[in-house]
Symmetry: C2
Subunit: 199 residues, 2 copies
């Protein structure tokens, strides 16, 4: 049984939103499973010196256009968020807490949270919004609200982010298959070929 | 008759090398022609604040790996150049001079020059190397050598680069089809879909 495919993303990454909706299906097509690792892209940017796309002259405007075209290419709806990028601590902490306490709801929650931001234009930096999204997925809102204030839950996200960076993750989405790194939703054709043993 | 597809690249761009070997075939598959526009990526980087890939922590190392995997994906040979990136003024000026004076040799020269750098590890920043490559393609070495010292030929590359930047070109390769911009060799699937009228 091969190791799970590791899928890293930040909840504020549009290309992460796209690949999150496909990676499990791609993996399953090759008899593989996945592990999801939300992390804080801003901490990786401190190492690479990268800046958020909207702040980059010329390339920023292109990227907004490319994101929308890429969403059409993936066959997914997309509405560029009013607030972008935004902090994703609450969303990522909620994911890990759900994974540990209500595992079956973690990924449906993550996908719903990404859609809340990139389709419904909701401000998922607000803990209340994240709790609403989780509750709508059937999670225990009160328990999750309490967890978000727990230092151990905060430490968990910090250590997950540090572990991601230690593995060389510097962008979102970032997929690692048997040690082979693939940055970007646009690496799907190479991911497919890798999984098919074609490299 | 639709307008030619515009293909922008810098001779020191590995992903430009890859797409240069495919773009004409992709265009022809949809009954389209191409115009090639080598330019100086460094001038665009001054606007976007981008830095050459090897200078970026973590991402730089990934990129070297990704370039080699992408070359395998494209089915093209690749040997990372000893000197990289390097100045491409002589190569780009030679391209435009050939286009104006010996048009049929311009693209074969460009492809040979890209292979000289990315397969044969030759230093194409040296005018002598560029002249050797051009001569091997049957170009008039002496006439081209004289042209490389001509201020008008230098002005031509400067104005081509300014025109590229004015069109929003900020990376290499960069393809514009009927006004629609596509950055990167990894946008081939979207270019194909665009040309098929699928967007």
């Amino acid at each position: 049984m091969p190791a799970p495919i590791e899928f890293y993303f930040d909840f504020t990454s549009p290309y992460g939103y796209l690949l999150a909706h496909r990676i499990d299906e791609i993996a399953a097509g090759h008899g593989r499973t996945t592990d999801w690792h939300p992390f804080l892209l801003g901490m990786a940017f401190k190492i690479t010196g990268a800046v958020p796309l909207p702040e980059i002259p010329v390339k920023g405007a292109y990227s907004l256009h490319d994101i929308q075209r890429s969403a059409r290419y993936f066959g997914l709806p997309y509405r560029h968020p009013t607030r972008f990028p935004l902090p994703t601590h609450s969303a990522a902490r909620s994911f890990y807490w759900l994974q540990d306490h209500d595992a079956a709801r973690a990924r449906p929650f993550a996908l719903a949270c990404l859609r809340a931001l990139f389709v419904e234009d909701r401000d998922i930096s607000a803990p209340a919004t994240v709790l609403d999204v989780a509750a709508a997925q059937g999670a225990d809102r009160a328990a999750l609200e309490q967890a978000l204030a727990d230092p151990a839950v905060k430490d968990r996200l910090r250590s997950e982010t540090e572990a991601a960076i230690a593995r060389g993750v510097f962008g979102s989405p970032f997929t690692i298959i048997d040690g082979e790194p693939f940055w970007g939703a646009d690496r799907v054709p190479q991911i497919e070929r890798w999984l098919a043993g074609g490299f």
